[in-house]
């Protein structure tokens, strides 16, 4: 197993003996990120939960808005700072996430988690890292970026390939300079530019054409629309990067987070429990089957 997992449920929020019972968390801060995308900083109302709650980049929580239901949202912050706050960047798209629109500081929501596998930050030490993401695929990788920056010397060349529909849809634009300074080459691209945009126009997989990779010592971490990931994987494999070094974070209909409601299955996997992060060699035979 290449991905790492927090060992037991003892770090989790929620009630082990009460199915789907969340722990309450208070909204501390709300930051608009882009059109229809907002970041929420949350703190558990129960100090005991706040103390034991621990997570790793790539994992997710089930966020519960009473009356609306739950949605799987990954943590988008730095594991070792954020003052212990849980940071969720949410695209307000469907019923539950749209309901977060009306939250204000001091309101509470429910959280269960963390769930799922995480980015293989240990396993890829010493390697060059290509982080390829699109749109709302960046937040689940931001925690990994922070972790890499903190121990920057332990990794080789690190490149962030990031794409969004328009310049206005790029997330965390204020941070790119900090990331560049910290030794992460940020390459951004948009589908459609505007009058202010001087950067690249095109899709994320195309960014592979602008630099060389050493396939044996390169790891790819990718998250974003499935069609984008398919082409990222294609470009990475075409450069002879082994499938075992390509890590994919999948989105499926996750409902329980614990691998027994059945909704997020793909082949033998429950994406919520065995994923969302998979090395592509474990995923390959199923990922490429249409409508599976």
């Amino acid at each position: 197993m290449t991905t790492t997992l927090i060992d037991t449920a003892s770090h989790q929020a929620g009630f082990e003996n009460k199915l789907l019972m969340p722990a309450w968390a208070e909204v501390v801060k709300i930051t608009p990120e882009a059109e229809g995308v907002t970041t929420f900083a949350l703190r558990f109302t129960d100090p005991e939960v706040q103390k034991r709650y621990r997570w790793e980049p790539g994992q997710f929580n089930m966020l519960y808005v009473p009356g609306y239901g739950e949605a799987a949202i990954s943590m988008s912050s730095d594991v070792s700072s954020s003052n212990g706050l849980v940071i969720h960047t949410i695209r307000q798209a469907a019923s539950v996430t749209k309901a977060t629109n009306r939250l204000r500081p001091g309101d509470v929501v429910g959280l269960r988690g963390p769930f799922g596998s995480s980015w293989p930050l240990e396993a890829i030490r010493g390697m060059d890292v290509v982080i390829a993401c699109g749109g709302i695929g960046l937040p689940p990788l931001r925690g990994a970026l922070y972790a890499i920056m903190r121990e920057r010397e332990k990794y080789g060349k690190v490149t962030l390939l990031y794409g969004a529909r328009t310049p206005k849809d790029l997330m965390y634009p204020d941070e790119y300079e900090t990331w560049n300074k910290a030794g992460i080459e940020v390459q951004a691209t948009v589908d459609r530019g505007d009058e202010t945009w001087t950067g690249r126009v095109g899709v994320v997989p195309m960014l592979f054409y602008h630099f060389r990779v050493d396939p044996h010592k390169t790891a790819v971490l990718t998250c974003g629309p499935e069609i984008m990931m398919r082409f990222v994987i294609y470009e990475a494999l075409a450069r002879r990067i082994p499938a075992s070094q390509i890590y994919v974070s999948l989105e499926r209909n996750m409902r329980c987070g614990q691998g027994f409601c059945g909704h997020c299955q793909m082949g033998p996997y429950f994406i919520c429990k065995d994923g969302p992060v998979f090395p592509f060699n474990r995923l390959g035979p199923f990922f490429n089957v249409e409508e599976y």
Binding site: L20, P66, G69, E70, A94, R252, C261, Q265, E290, Y292
Partner: protein, 388 residues
């Protein structure tokens, strides 16, 4: 009468049929809710039974794809039919389950930097209904195997469903050996029946004038010891063995399990999937009658203004249109992909997930499919297509 001291787990005794009534009464006085087969709407359902009187008598069943009929035999026998559309999973994994409710209580906000107004807080209250303690009466070998399959789903080492566990741990299983398999039965193929091996508290084999009862647990043993019984004669034991052997030879269907995950999961592009999609209604009946299907959905039920909400769990199905919906698309948008998911999961991916196949050969999905789609036939067709 035999001496109590001679009885051990594994012992078999001959019990007069009327004694079963006392056994049920004992279970009830020990706090168990006895549930078993009852006749309702020309069919067999699993419901609460208070005494032997409630059990249907003298009935055989005849099953075919999309058809279940009961036949009166007039015999003084209780367990000759094969169970119908319901399964025991409704008692361990209820079709509807209240989880918790939450009530809004808003408070004024005066904190600096915050917009003045009211803040939304919630009071949560977990469901506190007591867990029922069930004694299941008349569990067949395939059904017991199905419970064992669901045990692996709901009670894993890394996660356990508290609702299932609480009900499972208090369970008493009064098993019955099947003597009259039907045309849709194939438990022999799946290695699950028709004869019980283990996992029960007591196991009956029904003869014309008595039950042969095997004790499978301490609890079963102690209940049995309180009854009036005799040592079974060699003749009766031979007859019972012969009956269960004969039953094994009366399977109406068979399923070749060799290379099973592979033959399905390796041929996700088979033409047969298109063919079966034309016949399948995507109505979810197969998944609901299946004793191992475990998918569920949770949702909120609110009052008009959304000040109160109640969260509930219900049975779901991979045949439901929004089952695999994610924002922006549906992973399995048509009947072909849904039927394929169901069959490749049940007889394929299940093995990787829980180290057992998801099918126990009870035949419910064949009998209770309104258009009689037969999974043994579908698997055989795919085998043939692959071979060609």
């Amino acid at each position: 009468m035999m001496n109590e001291k001679n009885l051990t787990i594994g012992s078999t005794v001959a019990l007069p049929k009327a004694e079963l009534d006392h056994l049920l009464a004992d279970l009830r006085s020990n706090g168990y809710q006895t549930v078993g087969p009852r006749l309702q709407d020309e069919c067999i359902v699993y419901k609460e039974i208070e005494s032997l009187q409630d059990l249907p008598r003298g009935l055989l069943s005849e099953q075919k794809p999309a058809s279940y009929r009961l036949i009166q035999t007039g015999q003084d026998r209780y367990f000759d039919f094969i169970p119908a559309g319901q399964s025991w999973k409704q008692f361990l994994f209820p079709p509807r389950q209240h989880l918790f409710s939450a009530q809004k209580n808003s408070s004024e906000v005066h904190a600096e930097g915050h917009t003045a107004g009211r803040n939304t807080k919630w009071q949560i209250k977990a469901d506190d209904a007591p867990t029922p303690r069930y004694a299941l009466v008349g569990v067949r070998a395939c059904e017991l195997a199905a419970i064992a399959v669901q045990d692996r789903v709901f009670m894993r080492s890394d996660f356990t469903d508290p609702i299932y566990r609480a009900r499972r741990e208090g369970l008493f299983i009064l098993a019955v050996n099947c003597l009259h398999p039907n045309a849709t039965c194939f438990c022999v193929s799946m290695g699950t029946g028709p004869r019980h091996k283990a996992g029960f508290d007591l196991c009956l084999t029904e003869m014309d004038d008595l039950f042969l009862v095997e004790a499978g647990s301490e609890l079963g043993l102690s209940l049995l010891a309180r009854r009036t019984y005799e040592l079974p004669s060699a003749f009766v034991q031979t007859a019972a063995n012969r009956a269960t052997e004969l039953a094994a030879g009366k399977m109406g269907r068979s399923l070749d399990t060799s290379d099973l995950p592979g033959v399905l999961t390796g041929h996700l592009d088979a033409e047969r999937w298109n063919q079966v999609a034309k016949r399948c209604l995507s109505c979810a009946n197969c998944t609901q009658v299946c004793p191992t299907c475990f998918c569920w959905e949770a949702f909120d039920k609110t009052d008009v203004l959304g000040n109160k909400t109640s969260r509930e769990r219900v049975w779901d199905s991979c045949f439901n249109p929004n089952f695999s919906y994610v924002f922006g698309g549906n992973t399995r948008p048509n009947i072909r992909s849904r039927y394929r998911q169901w069959l490749t999961h049940k007889l394929g991916a299940w093995k990787g997930q829980f180290d057992v196949l998801g099918c126990v050969g009870c035949g419910r999905c064949i009998t209770w499919c309104p258009v009689g789609i037969d999974l043994t036939e579908e698997v055989a067709a795919i085998r043939q297509e692959v071979k060609a």
